[in-house]
């Protein structure tokens, strides 16, 4: 039984060697899988993992709706380690600078900094207005260079003549245009 197992595993190993013999080495290296815990620990460096975090991964993120991230913000340097020893003692003995250093060691931004306005609305509004003025300039260019001139019937004299024709034809005499015209005296009603 053992001998069979050994034979099979050695056969598998042999097959693997044969299969990868002609592959360039970079392909073979990527087939080594690091467990995900070690992968994350590599990326966070010396920072202490202190909680579950948002999704179980040891990452740092500042969120007002999730205030305690999974890892501390700063790596454990010598000053921070000495501060942690002091932290185990009475907190009333800490100076304000030490308290601030402890906070910044664990967290990147305070809530006030997270929620501070960015002023992004100004650039958004400016961009929108610039785009609108560009389109108006394009309209001006179109009118000057693209469109044909308007027909003569759009001139003021022609329009006046058309209007007089509407009055003569009694257009909308009950509630519309010529209901406001006094035909007896040939002028507009007051």
């Amino acid at each position: 039984m053992n001998k069979l197992h050994r034979d099979i595993s050695s056969m598998a190993g042999h097959l693997l060697k044969v299969a990868t013999k002609h592959l360039p080495s970079r392909y073979v290296a990527s087939r080594i899988f690091i467990p995900s815990v070690a992968y994350h620990k590599e990326r966070i460096g010396n920072r202490e993992v202190v909680g579950f975090g948002l999704n179980g991964e040891p990452s740092y993120i500042d969120r007002t709706d999730f205030p305690m991230p999974a890892i501390r913000f700063k790596e454990n340097s010598q000053e921070i380690i000495t501060l942690r020893e002091k932290e185990k003692d009475d907190w009333r003995k800490l100076t304000m600078d030490e308290k601030k250093a402890l906070y910044r060691a664990s967290f990147c931004q305070t809530f006030a900094e997270m929620k501070a306005p960015t002023g992004e609305w100004k650039s958004v509004l400016a961009g929108t207005l610039v785009a609108m003025s560009l389109t108006i300039w394009i309209y001006v260019w179109m009118k000057k260079f693209v469109y044909q001139p308007m027909p003569e019937s759009f001139s003021p004299e022609r329009k006046a003549a058309q209007f007089q024709r509407m009055i003569d034809l009694r257009i909308n005499p009950i509630e519309g245009l010529t209901s406001n015209y006094d035909y007896e005296n040939n002028r507009w009603k007051d």
């Binding site: 007002t64 205030p67 800490l94 308290k99 601030k100 402890l102 990147c108 931004q109 809530f111």
Partner: protein, 161 residues
């Protein structure tokens, strides 16, 4: 089923009233409360007092470690309530037990954020109730540390080219 719904509906109406009209008299009597409006799901028929007692007992565990403290704080942050001062006191004492000062200050900031747009009414009351614990442990409020205004600037990742 309807009786349960009506009862929980009534209690949540009372709770909502507490949240929206915390008159000064109510504040003095300590009734700006941890409001828990969960009348839709059947398996949360817990009263406010039971909820408060459960979280206070959780933080008062003598063998609690930083992981559990953070979990409870994050859970509280996700709920539609401002924690009661007694829960906050228990949480601060838990921070003391795990020797994490920054956690205590962060929790106070988080509580202030939960007050929403009624922060001027609720937050001073909470600090007033929690002041004995703050003095005993030596925890400064974020205002005393100067963290109620932004101190440092962090460039947005979208501006880094």
């Amino acid at each position: 089923m309807f009786r349960n719904a009506m009862l929980s509906g009534f209690s949540s109406v009372r709770n909502v009233k507490n949240l929206f009209f915390p008159s000064l008299a109510n504040i003095k009597q300590g009734r700006v409360s941890a409001v828990c409006i969960r009348s839709m799901s059947k398996h949360s028929s817990e009263t406010e007092e039971e909820f408060d007692a459960r979280y206070e007992a959780y933080f008062n565990r003598s063998d609690i470690d930083g992981w559990d403290v953070r979990k409870a704080m994050n859970d509280l942050q996700g709920m539609d309530l401002v924690p009661e001062p007694k829960i906050i006191s228990a949480a601060l004492k838990a921070c003391r037990r795990v020797n994490d000062y920054a956690l205590a200050v962060r929790f106070l900031e988080a509580v202030k954020d939960k007050c929403g747009n009624r922060v001027k009414e609720i937050y001073p009351y909470i600090i007033q109730e929690v002041r004995p614990i703050l003095d005993e442990l030596g925890v400064n409020t974020p205002e005393e540390m100067g963290y109620d205004k932004p101190e440092l600037y962090l460039e947005s990742v979208y501006d880094i080219h």
